[in-house]
């Protein structure tokens, strides 16, 4: 409880608790333009994957059977766990719960790292088995989609690292907190894009 009381002293420097009755933009407007653009780009990838699937059903049938669903499923759960950490982190910073904020962002970052390691192991296994980009169109798009997502995951991990550093500060200006919220939203985008990619790539045959 002492943490809460200590934080009262800097409350004026902190953003107010959101009022559910009054609409507000999470983070700031700019991040939503960016998230919108990335989301549209991935939507094209979903279409390309399904179109290619329809053109080469045999390649996809064989290819998808060679995928390890377990990796994709664990990755999905890791990102869900990381998102929960990040939500707790944002709420902790907002409430001035000093030790919890950085711990939560570190937890989110650790789960993101777990995803990255899992992906590298998964790719390594396929490459070792000779399932590479040159094999056929299925593997071209498998690496393109998972690789594009991985790229965003790495950016997101950088963003979470920044959020971690901000959460360690005794107080954040409203502007700084808006950036932190925007960073958190970018991470959640990495999460929901994988939520769609996972069934598309691994489950739907």
């Amino acid at each position: 409880m002492s943490t809460v009381e200590t934080s009262r002293g800097v409350e004026s420097a902190r953003p107010a608790m959101p009022d559910p009755a009054r609409p507000r933009i999470p983070g700031e407007a700019g991040i939503w333009v960016f998230i919108g653009g990335e989301t549209v780009a991935f939507t094209f990838l979903f279409v390309i994957w399904l179109y290619s699937h329809s053109q080469h059903p045999d390649l996809y049938s064989v290819g998808q059977q060679q995928l390890a669903v377990g990796f994709g499923a664990v990755d999905t759960l890791l990102l869900l766990a990381s998102s929960l950490f990040v939500v707790i982190g944002v709420r902790a910073v907002r409430a001035g719960l000093r030790p919890l904020g950085p711990i939560a962002f570190a937890g989110g970052l650790a789960c993101g790292l777990g995803f990255a390691i899992s992906k590298v192991i998964e790719w390594g296994g396929h490459i070792a088995a000779g399932q590479v980009v040159q094999t056929n169109e299925f593997w071209v798009y498998y690496y393109a989609l998972t690789g594009m997502h991985f790229f965003h995951l790495l950016i997101g991990m950088g963003v979470l690292g920044w959020c971690f550093l901000q959460a360690r500060k005794p107080a954040l200006s409203a502007q700084r907190f808006a950036y932190l919220e925007g960073g958190a939203c970018f991470w959640h985008m990495v999460d929901f894009l994988w939520i769609v990619l996972f069934p598309l790539i691994y489950l739907v045959r």
């Binding site: 999470p26 939503w32 979903f46 179109y51 939520i195 769609v196 489950l203």
Partner: protein
Amino acid sequence: MTAALLKDRLALVWAGLVIATIVSVLVGHDHAALGQAGAVIVLVIALVKARYVGLEFMELRTAPRVLRGLFEAWCLVVAAMVVVLFLVGS
């Protein structure tokens, strides 16, 4: 204090997302038995999950109507699109 932060819908939504993931894997694994219906179920579950990540985690539930509307419209359009593309293609 963690418990206080987990109140409202957060814990419930998160548990729902985890359960939906496990259900998707089970349904997806049993694809042969369920056929195309299984694929459609898995795709719809995915976009419903994405919607909840947006509404709860990204706090779009309390966002201006335009932003929330755009996101929910995306979920709906992509759900319809991937289901139709899958059914047409298979």
